[in-house]
Amino acid sequence: MGLFNRVFSKKNRALLAELVRTDFKLRYQGSVLGYAWSVLRPLLLFGILYVIFALVIKSGDGIPHFPVYLLLGIVLWTFFTDMTSQSLGSIVGRGDLIRKISIPRWIIVFSSSILALINLGLNMIVVAIVMLINGVPLMQTIVFIPLLLIELYIFALGISLFLSAAFVKFRDLGFIWEVIVQMGFYLTPILYAMSIIPVRFQKLQLLNPVAQVMQDARYSLVSHHEKVVTIWRVFGGDWYVLIPFVIVAITFVVGLMYFRNQQDSFAENL
């Protein structure tokens, strides 16, 4: 625990809390509804997509509680993209601090990730409310939800560390990441039941940790219906099921190492 105590020393914790508080205040300053927007935004997106995909196109393919299924997907996707996109610019955005004071650099990325976590928490409350309205029965598999969220967070943190450090040198990354996120929106089974696409593609799709987490979370929280495709179901007992977890671990380690390698030169390159 020596490392943990040093990294999360009293000083660093106080600074982290203050940075999160500042970002929290600043983000929606001047807007009338203020922080409500962090819940309203995914809800409005959900409303639009619900009308198109659940009512018009009927992409639910008979999955029970499809609105909740859809909302959960949107909430998890919003968390992933918000956290990575906001972290991407976090080091550059705090250039004034980095050039003038020697604080641990990771605190800046970490504080923007905590902000995304707070939003996720608020949105999960909305999911719970919609579950109640929709009459979704509570299943024992709900215990997996925290583990899945941790997996998603670690994946997003690895990407955030890499992006925030690389963005200092390569400003094109902002646009590139935007395109990747847009692509990911359609490649990840957010809007449709996976059962409507061929099994071959299902297998490929679920190697993406975000898709794997999303499907596992839907299985654990919304429905065990056979059409809720998860990585465990498509691969059976095959070792392939480990691939997303390995990707998460490698992403995190590579992101962290790259960040550590670059952080000493942030002040000069900014």
Binding site: K10, K11, A14, L15, A17, E18, L19, R21, T22, K25, L26, Q29, D96, L97, I98, R99, K100, I101, S102, I103, K169, F170, R171, D172, L173, I176, D264, S265, A267, E268
Partner: protein, 400 residues
Amino acid sequence: MKDTGKRLQAEDSDSSVAIKVEHVSKTFRLPHNRQNSLKGSFINLFRGGDRTFEKQEVLKNVSFEIKKGEFFGIVGRNGSGKSTLLKMLAGIYKPTKGMITVNGSLTPFIELGVGFNPELTGRENVYLNGALLGFSRPEIDAMYDDIVAFSEIERFMDQRLKNYSSGMQVRLAFSIAIRARSDILVLDEVLAVGDEAFQRKCFSYFDRLKREKRTVILVTHDMSTVERFCTKAMFIEEGKILLEGKPHLVAAAYSRSNDKTDESTSYQSPKQQYPFDIWVRDSAGKETKSFAYGNKMVVELSWKKPDVRHIGLAIFRANGEYVFGPNTYQDSYSLKDSNKATYTVDLNLNEGEYFLKAATMGENDNNIIEFIEEGPHFKVTRDYDSGRWGGVTKLDHEWL
């Protein structure tokens, strides 16, 4: 592999050394045309990497030691490398070569009010800035009232910082900064901002630091501050230590080196920018902007506006301190010419930078016709062999 520099953080309470700098160099790689994009990087890759970079050695093999309890002054012109050195001491930059050992905790207020956010209120900024200095929320709670009282802006604490005047911001930042408890303090040009009252507060803070025998590193252009507070000083030029030792010797060397540069650049009177003409000459009638202590300065004024009955001329220190300013109305002197005048004064002033303000007036000194807010600057230098004293001017005095 090239050897890379290191910065070590030690906790050795027995040692008398606070900071040890050994053979430290810092090189920046300056891209000729900065490539912040992937495309640019790709192109550079194919062109063969480093070719578009220029290496700039900002510090060259610098070694020195700062003892605990020392008030250590660092002087040098802009671009001499002193800010880079300071940033390395603070751990913001990493040395390219060499080793820096810092013994004890170090608070860098490389600048006042780091992290101040204009969209936050004064109160919120106190907490943010305090956290950056390493204070927890309860600790700031406990000192909050004192901070506000010291800054003298109680009424504005719940207003956003963007509505503050720059003077108020500086006062607030300073009130937080002086709370820093660390063993070593790094102060970069803190005096360059703020008015006279603020400078007095700064000086009494410096006095306190000296009494408490804290280790202080002070970077400043003001030689009188160096002489008054520092126990040791260092003069950096072009990335090298030119002189290290007694503050008054370092200050004198710095002033001399500045005079040299002034003379080498051909002096042009900047009269075009003023509403009326003003020339600064020495007693031989030569235009100059550097005087030795006690020498005569001759100022010539000439104007085009009609009905000018009186003129005033004032000397200010570069920091805005008012030194002396008579006018012909107060002196009951009537001008001989209707469009020009000459003024002479013995510069019994301490060394430093000064400037002139000038005004043309009508019937009395309430009736200003034209005004030069910041006229020609000039320097006063002092010869230390003829005794030393402190302050702005030397008054006749006697010890009884």
